[in-house]
Symmetry: C2
Subunit: 429 residues, 2 copies
């Protein structure tokens, strides 16, 4: 290779989500040294995360070790570490264990749950962005039913078996549907003191309909399907306050619920705000048409932390396909520069369509003008998600789980695995 | 049924391990009201627990919700709660949430890791009895390699990549073999700064050979297989002290290791000692030939907490088949009494043989005078363990994992899922 005669450039990629992984996969082997940093040792397939929260899947089913993805790429070094700061002037990234110097930096640190400035609500209403969130929800939901089964106070039983999902986007819709199914069907035979089908699942949506980016007809289909699953859907309802086991809406209604899950918003990783560069309302970095940061052509931002209206005037959404496309595009930008070629034309987002599933054998699917609902949309959703899952092993085990669940109405991961706090400080009895 | 005219007796079963579950399954439906209490919501298939620790399997693969096992038994109520005390005189069981009154009590609370009076060693050398233990080991082992990959101090790298398994019984042998395979083969391609095949796995055994209850030839086979997997086997070596990242042996040797795992002993659940009844050295309750507690014919102890020399003079061992047999026997004892029939003859343990696996495609198997090693023993081990796994779904997913792993040398659950401590107290940046 011609590059091997000159010292190789060092590219640091922060974040191994869809954007960071796509960048590394698309970047030609041997052209530079790449260090990929993530605080976890796995790449997470976020679109199926809600199924971990509802005990359908195990964490390992939707998480692939980052090292395994790149085990044949000798030019890519993977580090598990947490980034504490970035110095754009010195071109360094400070982590908890060491500091890296870069020639190019690819920022792909993604988003986290956002509370529109009410961060104190996080105490009472956890989000669903990581595996820890999903396990937390799984443990809390299952524990709530266990406590209710054991509880003699009807008021408390009602609170324990009430679930509130805030946010009527795809995550909220999918989670509420899965909770509806879990309570109405899966758990029903399991409990004998309580009737789990009396459990209440609320879905609170601020906008006037569910899944706002979709066509009106699909929103209505989703609403009807959710109602059939026993979900109490409230549109045009804004949350004004979240307290312990309690949600207040702007129409004055108060819902008492042991489990409140926040799917109403995301904000960019707070690292972005520390850079002193222009960001949008949710903390996303404003990027040039080629994804570079203004004034820092050696730094590119991709995925959920990049705010961009593309060359065709489309606001690039914070979804997995956009992150994938930006990752591949960023690889071309740096490759062109290293090879001394013409830079690629400005980034254009290609909308491949959207899909969301609502419980068993129902989904909505929208690709351009094509709209689909029902069983075939669900089969489409299933195939696309399986095809996108990274490792072969994950595909097999997720497919096994899905087939099993479809046949038996049972969920495979209904176990409560809260770590004991006394793990190391065992009693001396 | 004739029983329905008189008020039904209430049987409380504490513990949903092999013994407690076998009791409930064997007890005739409708003859009494049964309440089954466990602090977890799942029945754990402990023989495969080490595979969760070595990232082969996910927790849900070897755990079945207790409610699901008994969802068709209307006479069995399942409660998830922690027992805090038992009053034999008043016939009550106090739990964290409520108190139960019983006519019959079946104690099946099992064993926990035992340190021969050195409970402070637990801080530095965790055991392998529950899912929390297994996840703790998995997270620590994987994190140690991640830290080593990122570490510039060779001394510290050596410490991070040294593993000590204390105890040469089946659990210790199986765990050490799996760790040998993990470091030598599975992780090898994943890491680029460190050579994981340089990792050291020590197996420390106090007795003069591994797997003491087996025939000498099998012990030797197991030792040779482990050595081939890179395990440093030390027999006739006693641990005299365990400190932070440090094990001292009676021959003066000191091993510095970031991960020390204790498989050298178990002791009965401490509940047994609070009863004021005779126990053996490891806290097991001495029981009558029909498993009843002396002076308390309404209380039976089964499984790992019962100390018994059976009618044929055999000391019943603390293994899964013994717990299953005791559970079924206890059901017969209470059934006979309720139906006014002749009580069954004293309990006799039927030794079905033992087996242990050592890494890939090797195992030892001993049934009476039949001894077997190698691939066919391993196939036997595999089939028996699959057949004994409770739920159909678990069988399918475990089989999938095993086949996948056999073909690819990869492990499916190599993810670090330590819960974040700041989960609810997110930063305000």
């Amino acid at each position: 290779m011609t590059e091997s005669t000159t010292p190789r450039k060092h590219i640091v990629v922060l974040g191994a989500g869809f954007g960071g992984v796509a960048f590394c996969q698309a970047f030609p082997e041997g052209l530079a040294d790449i260090t990929l940093v993530d605080r976890n040792n796995y790449h997470l397939f976020q679109p199926l995360l809600y199924q971990v929260a509802t005990a359908d899947l195990s964490p390992a089913d939707i998480a692939e070790p980052i090292r395994t993805i790149f085990d044949r790429r000798r030019d890519i070094k993977v580090l598990m570490d947490e980034v504490s700061g970035i110095d754009l002037a010195k071109r360094t990234v400070t982590m908890q264990r060491r500091t890296l110097t870069y020639d190019y930096l690819v920022l792909a640190v993604g988003a986290r749950t956002g509370y529109f400035g009410n961060n104190e609500w996080a105490r009472h209403a956890g989000g669903l962005k990581g595996i820890d969130d999903a396990l937390n929800i799984r443990n809390r939901v299952l524990t709530a039913f266990e406590e209710a089964e054991n509880c003699l106070d009807p008021e408390q039983v009602r609170r324990l078996t009430t679930f509130v999902v805030v946010g009527g986007g795809p995550t909220g819709v999918e989670l509420a549907g899965a909770l509806g199914e879990l309570t109405r069907r899966v758990l029903r035979r399991d409990f004998k003191n309580i009737d789990t089908s009396q459990a209440r699942v609320f879905l609170i949506q601020g906008a006037s309909r569910l899944l706002p980016p979709y066509h009106q007809a699909l929103s209505e289909y989703a609403r009807q399907k959710l109602v059939k699953l026993g979900v109490d859907v409230r549109v045009s309802a804004r949350v004004t306050r979240v307290g312990p086991q309690r949600v207040e809406l702007d129409n004055g209604k108060v819902i008492e619920a042991a489990n409140i899950i926040w799917c109403a918003g995301v904000e960019a990783n707070p690292l972005t705000r520390k850079l002193g560069l222009p960001t949008d309302r949710t903390g996303r970095l404003k990027v040039e048409p080629d994804l570079r940061l203004p004034g820092h052509p050696e730094v590119l931002a991709i995925g959920d932390i990049a705010a961009l209206t593309d060359a065709r005037g489309v606001d690039v959404p914070g979804v997995a396909p956009a992150a994938l496309q930006m990752g591949r595009y960023a690889a071309k930008v740096i490759e062109a520069q290293l090879r001394g070629r013409t830079p690629p034309r400005p980034f254009v987002y290609f909308d491949k369509g959207s899909m969301a599933t609502i419980g068993r054998a129902a989904a909505v699917l929208e690709v351009g003008r094509l709209r689909m609902t029902g069983f075939f949309a669900w089969m489409g959703w299933l195939l696309v998600h399986l095809a996108m899952l990274v490792g072969f092993n994950n595909k097999v085990s997720v497919l096994t789980e899905w087939i099993f669940r479809y046949i038996t109405y049972r969920q495979g991961a209904r176990i409560i695995t809260t770590p004991r706090t006394d793990e190391l400080l065992r009693d001396a009895t």
